[in-house]
Symmetry: none
Subunit: 262 residues, 2 copies
């Protein structure tokens, strides 16, 4: 089986070093590192690029500079041109999502692939686009098409990575396990018993639906075991506080205490 | 039927005015306009925000400033917190794509909705996240999680807009491995040279666009190496055949042939 590949990011005539740095940063966010610069306006290297990369130095350290776009893409088999400007080029026009699917398919075949972006002011020329296999266009509002260079890279790089890992990162999924139904039922029984004692369910013929509504609240909260224990403590504290108050009232007929904090 | 809604973008303690401007720009790109700022570090308004919005002034002109996040989201029913940092909050964690689906569903019901983003340095606090209904996280590389604020807005806003109108997938043919750009360029150079010799590009001022159109033809054809070799043979054969014809014509003092159409 072929070794899968990762897209190169080719910037044609980029202007601001800060934007090149921002591109490097978002490449690092989404697992890309092969940065190629075609005729960067202010030359290369540019210190300000590193300053704006926020530590994503490796795409900049490894960046290669080319005199022509043809040279920059010579080793690639599929290059997709990202532009928000409709052109007359007779190439397929696809969304970043479709581009990611296409690139993933080529990657799985071991094909060297690339994403091409134009400079900040002029974007891609018709000549640039003519060396590509498809045009990628984000669904921008036609009233404001001008997408920042690094934003365009962000969206296509995000789609590339999401196509590999469509779920949320594992780090987020490893929260505490939800409590089981028995634990939940034990809490609900405690709560309903205390509410019965407090005369909460009134009138009595509405008790069943009131209980159902309360159960739905806690049912959809997807509580952990720890949260169930906390809630049991909350109910106990509230009920005992109330019991204490009632006992004092009964004994002294004095003023009520303020209830405890939740 | 309810009026559909559009998400507010809420920035909690944003620091750099340039980033607020970049957020406004990408909001405009993807059809959002309700920008809410919670305790912007340098106060508001800030001229540099407008400077970096590249003409997307309206989200900035209409931006509202709030003293607390609770105030900023008081009228919203669903707020999703975007962060790349794992937290202990017991909330569902979803991708920007899943977030867009959720927001579209709420929007269709007329629910006022929002997307919450943290400041550049600290991100969102646990207290910020606690007012939200879910956590949105882009699938960043765990080795470099730090996503620029405007990039995070770009990705979620892009997904919001794409969820409204995902283009029908463009069909791509699968076939033999495509030739690389160097092989393609070699063929194109041969073809253009022969056509120059044959006086094909006429009038001369149209040569550039005729070359571009020809390149687009072969660029989108996704030629294999074998097809490139075949085409080179085709051009050679045609050129030699034409040479033969011209030789005959020259021998007989006949008139020149008319040029070919592109």
């Amino acid at each position: 089986m072929s070794q899968s590949t990762v897209p190169a990011v080719i910037l044609s005539a980029p202007q601001l070093a800060e934007n090149i740095g921002a591109v490097a940063r978002v490449m690092a966010n989404f697992g890309l590192s092969d940065l190629r610069l075609v005729r960067p306006r202010d030359g290369w290297p540019q210190e300000r690029a590193w300053a704006s990369a926020s530590g994503a130095d490796w795409p900049l350290d490894q960046a290669r500079v080319f005199a022509t776009l043809e040279d920059a893409v010579a080793d690639l088999t599929v290059v997709l041109a990202t532009t928000a400007r409709p052109r007359e080029a007779r190439l397929p026009v696809i969304t970043p999502r479709q581009a990611a699917a296409r690139l993933r398919a080529e990657s799985a075949l071991g094909q060297p692939i690339g994403l091409l972006f134009g400079g900040e002011r002029a974007g891609l020329t018709a000549d640039d686009i003519a060396v590509c296999q498809a045009i990628v266009t984000a669904p921008v509002d036609p009233r404001f098409r001008s997408l920042n260079l690094a934003q365009a890279v962000a969206i296509t790089a995000y789609e590339w990575r999401l196509a590999e890992a469509p779920d949320a990162p594992a780090a987020f999924r490893s929260g505490p396990a939800p409590a089981d139904q028995a634990a939940l039922r034990g809490f609900q029984a405690q709560l309903e018993s205390e509410l019965d004692g407090a005369g909460f369910f009134h009138p009595p013929e509405k008790r069943a639906s009131m209980v159902r509504n309360l159960r739905a609240v806690f049912g959809r909260a997807r509580l952990s075991d720890q949260e169930v224990r906390t809630l049991r403590g909350v109910v106990t504290a509230l009920a005992k506080g109330r019991g204490r108050v009632l006992a004092k009232l009964a004994a002294k007929a004095g003023e009520p205490e303020p209830p405890g904090d939740c």
